[in-house]
């Protein structure tokens, strides 16, 4: 008997005749000891399955038909008390945000104890059981750890605690919803390794939900690719990643910049995944409007799942499958602009020290060095990447460059003119040359401004005597340049998708024609296919305007794709810097090598993840 089996599971949103199907006829099986990867971008419905199991569907959503069998019993129709008995015991969850999943006012020991009490461990044994479980996930000194509070641990450690809790009851099934998305690359590798090992040792079935196809193909036995609530492709992980057959799976793979090999321009799909409200208008294949090889029949009838190999099925019609191969192979080579202009930004030996808090005698604590003597130069038309994990000081560097923070020592010059943080003259120099694109478009766009007034916000500043007509014209040309439809001018940020918001964010920075953009993690919150669109947009902007870019990211593959030069930061130190190709093909510093090893490689023969590092 399969541990988990979905049979034609359909989830609808809202009531009435023609309601959108958020999940359509979903079928899969997970056997004991197997890992099934659910892969899809945001809006694909991948988290719905976890919600069906936990019976926590959003209001208005319900299972319309089909069944979800856990060890033979249907979870959909199960009485609530019997389901509650299963959850946390036979079925366990590993959440996405480890820090918010733990109660900040209880110690790890208290929370672990509560969980063990729930699964019937007698009081006297709980502490020893908890310590043993923490040792199992390779956490050092588990006894001391039990007396700590969650905020005293790193995100990776919290996630390991949660993994230990999930496995404590020897569950038959574990649902892991994006368990590594909130973590750093190297922590991700460790956490994945631990989940995989625990799962193998305990013979647990695992449902691994992720947006990262590359990661999923390394972790899972089987893959199931979802698009807008439909299964588009399902099969053994090795087959799906080596030879994806559905145009969407191919596009996902092609949108992911590689960490090695030849540079090709990323192939992007037009537009984005349709929202739930648009589902009812799509009668056939929901991917058809974006499909590079769609033919008229796709849009009228839902194609069946066709077998293409052993256990490998694809929801696509025969002719398209043949053409899909042609469409993605023809990706043009990446053109790098090598015309370097004059140096715009010079940063010499810049440091930032945050003084510690004063104690009651007025003595200062040790404080922290966020950046220790960084040197960077960026010329017009040059893309420079800054890579590092969280806490490496890369965002502080961006703030120092933009004048949002005052450096403790060192010198920053723009066009050869030295600038300090906040005096009017420095501000004037910066405004003419530099602009910043913020990380989180949600927070960076004032929700009370329509798009037109957002992208041309700079024109409201003093010294810009523009008429409304000029302003509108400027907004239109900026929209055109960043690939946004002029129809969006009257929209507000809440009415835009994530990718559109990030484009507006970029358009706003371009308004006063800067020569250098500082971009802090601008693609980290985006889906892979939207990320590819934004990356290509930045390359196009360089070709059209010759702007320079200081690109801050934790994603090595993105930096490799985009940047000419790269610097690697660790704890405020620049540990390695040089031309991108050189650094990536021959990393010298052990930290750079460790970072690169933590990224799942393209080549399926390379073993990954690497051995767990004790922490």
């Amino acid at each position: 008997m399969a541990t988990l089996e979905a049979r034609g599971l359909t989830v609808t949103a809202g009531r009435g005749e023609n309601v959108p199907k958020v999940l359509r006829e979903l079928s899969f099986t997970v056997e004991r000891g197997q890992v099934l990867g659910l892969v899809g971008e945001s809006g694909a419905g991948k988290s719905m399955i976890g919600r069906v199991i936990g019976r926590s569907l959003p209001t208005g959503f319900r299972v319309a038909s089909g069944s979800l069998l856990f060890e033979g019993q249907d979870l959909v129709g199960l009485p609530a008390d019997r389901l509650t008995g299963l959850l946390g015991d036979r079925i366990a969850f590993i959440p996405q945000e480890p820090l918010t999943a733990l109660n900040p006012v209880l110690t790890i020991g208290a929370q672990f104890g509560e969980h063990l009490e729930r699964i019937g461990v007698p009081r006297g044994e709980r502490r020893a059981r908890a310590a043993a479980a923490l040792k199992d996930v390779r956490l050092r000194d588990p006894d001391a750890l039990l007396d700590l509070y969650p905020f005293q641990l790193s995100g990776g450690m919290c996630q390991r605690v949660l993994i230990a809790m999930a496995f404590a009851s020897e569950p038959a099934l574990i649902v892991a919803d994006e368990p590594t998305t909130a973590l750093d690359v190297s922590t991700q590798a460790t956490v994945v390794q631990i989940i995989r090992r625990m799962q193998r040792d305990h013979g647990t079935a695992l449902l691994f939900i992720t947006h990262d196809l590359r990661l999923a193909s390394r972790v899972c036995d089987d893959l199931l690719v979802l698009y807008a609530g439909d299964v588009v492709e399902r099969g053994p992980a090795a087959d799906v990643s080596a030879a994806p057959r559905h145009p969407y799976t191919r596009a996902l793979q092609a949108a992911n910049p590689p960490l090695a090999g030849t540079d090709r321009r990323l192939v992007t799909l037009p537009d984005q995944m349709p929202g739930i409200s648009r589902f009812t208008a799509l009668h056939g294949c929901r991917f058809a409007p974006r499909c590079p090889v769609a033919d008229p029949t796709c849009a009228t009838a839902v194609p069946p799942l066709e077998p293409v190999g052993t256990r490998h099925v694809v929801r696509c019609v025969g002719e398209c499958l043949a053409k899909a191969a042609e469409a993605t192979v023809a990706a043009p080579a990446l053109v790098r602009g090598d015309a370097r202009g004059e140096t715009v930004l010079t940063v010499e030996g810049v440091s930032k020290h945050y003084p510690g808090k004063r104690d009651w005698l007025g003595r200062r604590g040790p404080g922290a060095d966020a950046v220790k003597g960084a040197d960077v130069t960026v010329a017009a038309g040059e893309f420079v990447g800054v890579v590092g994990e969280s806490g490496s000081g890369k965002s502080t560097l961006a703030k120092l460059v933009m004048g949002l923070e005052e450096p403790t020592s060192g010198r920053i010059a723009i066009d050869g003119k030295p600038v300090i943080a906040n005096d009017p003259a420095s501000r004037e120099i910066r405004l003419g040359a530099l602009q910043m694109v913020f990380q989180d478009p949600q927070s960076a766009l004032n929700p009370r401004r329509p798009v037109e007034r957002l992208v041309t916000q700079s024109l409201e500043a003093p010294h810009h005597a523009t008429t409304e007509a000029e302003r509108l014209a400027r907004a239109r040309s900026l929209m055109l340049e960043t690939g946004l439809s002029p129809d969006l001018l009257d929209r507000y940020p809440s009415q835009l998708s994530g990718g559109q918001k990030q484009r507006v964010n970029i358009a706003r920075a371009l308004c006063v024609t800067p020569r250098l953009l500082v971009a802090d993690e601008i693609v980290s919150g985006l889906d892979v296919s939207v990320q590819a669109q934004i990356l290509n947009l930045l390359l196009d902007l360089r070709a059209a305007r010759g702007i320079g870019l200081l690109f801050i990211s934790h994603d090595l593959a993105v930096v490799r794709y985009l940047c000419d030069r790269v610097m690697v930061m660790k704890n405020g130190d620049v540990v390695e810097a040089g031309p991108t190709e050189e650094v990536f093909s021959n990393p010298r510093h052990p930290y750079t090598r460790a970072l690169m090893a933590a990224v799942p490689p393209e080549d399926p023969t390379v073993p990954w993840p690497p051995e767990v590092v004790e922490s």
Binding site: P58, T59, M402, L404, R430, L431, L434, Q435, M436, F438, Q439, D440, S443, A444, L445, N446, P447, R448, R449, P450, Q457, S458, E460, A461, P462, H463, H464, Y492, S494, Q495, R508, C511, V512
Partner: protein, 291 residues
Amino acid sequence: MSPRTRAALLRCARNPRVMAGLLLALAVIVVALGAPWIAPHDPQEQDLLNTLLPPMWSAGGDPAFPLGTDTLGRCILSRLIYGARVALYVAFVAATGAMLLGTVLALISGYFGGWVDWIIGRLVDIWMAFPPVILALILLVGMGAGVNKVILAIVLIGWTRFCRVIRSEVIVVRRRDYVAAARLAGFTHVQTIVKEVLPAVLPLVITLFSLEMGIAVIVEAIMSFVGLSVEPDVAAWGVMIADARTTMNQAPWGVVMPVAAIFATVLAFNLLGDGLRRALDPRLVTSRESL
């Protein structure tokens, strides 16, 4: 109108507290503005033959004086209607003053932070530690009685509430990237505050304003009760209670009626304020609509 504003208005319109408070407050406002046309008598007109009449529906009542008369034979209804003018005048002007003073200081304090924030914060602490009734009495004794002095007293007491609450909201907004983005777009500090920060805290300001109006109505009633507010020849609710309290045993309605008027007005503003808080507070709204 942005969809956010529209959604907020819609939430207000659907909120029973907001609508009940708004209707009640509007009724009081209409009565106050239309006093000369609505009131059956002049509020100071004495009819010494008809003193201490009960309301018209009880035995011995006179339809010419619908809510009865006081010790001097003045029409209670007419005095209530004219009293609403005093109450609303004080409520509106005092709440506006407290709002302006408190909000401006809160914006400066929360936006600039550092020592500016420290000084304003300590000022509020010291101010709030001083008993408000004593402060008001000292002011009124020192400057003499009068409606405008009462307003000044309410402003000087009420601004701290605005300052405290709005400052914490300004600090939240200040940390949003769009405020930094506005500075990088070349906005001056004043522009950034007015165009980016203020609109975000405006719902909270409106909510506090409504609650402050209710408080001002009560303070005015207390002050006119002890004779420190309006001139003796002006009808105010507090004055009416003070006048009627000596004959409370024979004619309880002389006290009950103005108390009911104060009750209804304060209830209106509090319902409105509480409803607006529920409808506009981003934390309460998102928790309900995020799913």
